[in-house]
């Protein structure tokens, strides 16, 4: 119950994606409760990034499991997604009504542009952090082209990229 309400609170206050959540997790788990230290939290976060799923949910599951086993993992995850379920379902009911009003149609046209701005700027900063060698740039270009120009499904692209990652590293270590 403590885990559920704690992660409910974290879910409720993380507006704008998982990247906002790390400072919040630090405050609650490291400073206030001393359940984990900074190093452990960063480890959880790293695992959250390297495993399937949303980082915020993965981190919640991890902390929940280390505190209380499987029931703890379920409680923490449920807490994390509950605010989304409640708030989004409440909003979703009104969307069709809003979309039929001319005023909202205009507002949404502007909002779509804002979404495009946010996505492009997030991509730029992710690229700055994520590209270490020219191979990374090529892989990004390949992923983009596969979907946009060749109409590929993202699923096989991810599988192929993981496989390529294995091959490339091996090749590199042979060269060294």
């Amino acid at each position: 119950m403590v885990l559920y309400s704690l992660f409910f609170k974290i879910g409720l206050f993380s507006i704008g994606g998982g990247y906002v959540m790390l400072p919040m997790l630090r405050l609650e788990l490291v400073e206030k409760r001393k359940w984990v230290n900074d190093r452990e939290l960063l480890d959880y976060y790293a695992i959250g990034q390297a495993t399937p799923g949303i980082i915020a949910v993965n981190t919640a599951t991890f902390v929940g499991y280390t505190r209380r086993g499987i029931p703890g993992a379920v409680a923490a995850t449920a807490g994390m997604v509950s605010p989304s379920l409640i708030i989004i379902l409440a909003i979703a009911v009104f969307i069709p009504m809003m979309e039929s009003l001319p005023l909202f149609q205009k507002a949404f046209k502007g909002i779509r542009v804002a979404v495009a701005v946010l996505l492009v700027s997030t991509l730029v900063s992710l690229t700055k952090k994520g590209w270490k060698t020219w191979v990374d740039g090529l892989l990004t270009l390949a992923g983009f082209s596969a979907v946009v120009f060749f109409g590929a499904s993202p699923f096989p692209v991810i599988l192929a990229a993981g496989f390529l990652g294995l091959l490339l590293r091996r090749h590199r270590s042979v060269v060294q």
Binding site: G53, S84, L89
Partner: protein, 179 residues
């Protein structure tokens, strides 16, 4: 779409979302927009709302899409499907392989997936950019008011990055006057 296939669809999306919530966008786009369940416009509007409301974007999008496809139970089923792979995989890792993320094999695979996933996110961003900035029904004809708004908001973001909610609100208010 039955609840079971809805669950499986979102389970797959959760399983292949690697490196954060945004990585779920290209997968969601393919499943619900290319799958003909949700219009392109609605997808972008859902994304705007998901970015300006509490909760992880990927979870908000899953709840939204599930609701659009199969009502309130659909919202629950899609969200459950989306988090199920995380629950299973993280519990396994927490129980047995706590040094998972530093394992060389994992680092190699992630070294390939991370940059490619950026390209996939870029592809979703391109579809959204196209929807927001080009005149509907034309191939690549820029809508001038939209392009102006894009530059204005882009410069504002560059000068003073703030929480996404501010830009989405600004876009909405300016949109009423521009369009």
């Amino acid at each position: 779409m039955s609840f079971l296939s809805l669950f499986i669809t979102f389970f797959n999306i959760g399983l292949f979302t690697i490196g954060g919530g945004l990585a779920s966008l290209p997968l969601l786009y393919e499943a619900v927009v290319d799958g003909g369940m949700i219009s392109r416009n609605l997808f972008v509007d859902m994304l705007a709302i998901s970015q300006s409301t509490p909760g992880p974007i990927g979870i908000n999008m899953a709840t939204f899409a599930g609701y659009q496809i199969a009502g309130i139970p659909g919202g629950f089923v899609a969200t459950l499907g989306m988090v199920a792979p995380s629950l299973i995989i993280i519990v396994l890792i927490a129980a047995w392989f706590t040094n998972f993320s530093s394992h060389p094999l994992v680092q190699d695979v992630m070294g390939g997936i991370r940059p490619a996933a950026l390209g996939l996110i870029a592809s979703a961003a391109w579809f959204i950019f196209r929807e927001a900035l080009f005149v509907p029904g034309t191939d690549f004809q820029l809508s001038l008011p939209a392009a102006g708004l894009f530059i204005a908001l882009g410069v504002a973001y560059k000068l003073k990055p703030a929480t996404p909610v501010i830009y989405i609100l600004a876009g909405g208010v300016l949109g009423v006057f521009l369009f």
